[in-house]
Subunit: 106 residues, 2 copies
DNA sequence: TGCGTTATTGGCAATATAGCCAAATAGCCA
DNA sequence: TGGCTATTTGGCTATATTGCCAATAACGCA
């Protein structure tokens, strides 16, 4: 693992780490539909505003979302449209697990 | 966020969390090429065997890899082939970041 | 059987993360 | 300006993660 490769792997890991939380995945799914203000997301998530704000800042730091202040509200949106296409693969992991279990039952 | 959705998001987050470490991403890349024993991976990574073993067990727990003991060696391989296709999207995040920076410089 | 090799597990210290409350900040409008 | 709303930040505690060393387990071979 040379230095350059290490840097690439760290950068990728940072993006994944930012996504690796249920609340943040939820936010990503919501923003996939349309941009949202912090207040809407807070309502949907049902946690403290400060908690939601911190999750958003993690996503922003990782380059996953962009924010846009308009008047009193801050709107967030996805920076790249592809994030969710990620999950075809993740789902195939679950499928493989299910198959393994069913073969145990046989 | 109902209970069912929450469970799905948690399951996905677990897979991402398992991937979200430079060493584990490296392992995934190596296993994409071919299966590997713990000793080879340890050599390539340059950490303590116990550390590598624990990373592997995180990947296994998450359903990302499978292991196979043959004689004295334990070989690991990817459970699903698509893991790395993940990164087209991640890379597009970096690209977007680079573009933003260059537009600042203008 | 006993030794050397490979891998996993337990335990520990250092560090990072999550979520809440409270305080600070920013913008609107009367 | 003063008060109201929306958001971010600081501070705290609880919990999780990382990586090393030491101990244990599993296997092959002399």
């Amino acid at each position: 693992m040379d230095q350059k490769q290490k840097a690439i792997l760290e950068a990728r890991a940072n993006v994944l780490k930012a996504m690796a939380h249920p609340t943040r995945l939820f936010i990503i799914e919501e923003l996939e539909k349309e941009e949202r203000c912090v207040c809407d997301l807070t309502e949907l998530i049902g946690a403290d505003v400060s908690t939601v704000s911190k999750h958003l800042s993690v996503l922003k730091q990782a380059g996953i979302v962009l924010s846009d202040k308009r008047g009193n509200l801050v709107f967030y949106r996805l920076r790249v449209p592809c994030i969710l296409s990620f999950f075809g693969c993740v789902e195939s992991i679950f499928k493989a697990q299910a198959e393994d279990h069913s073969s145990l039952v046989k």
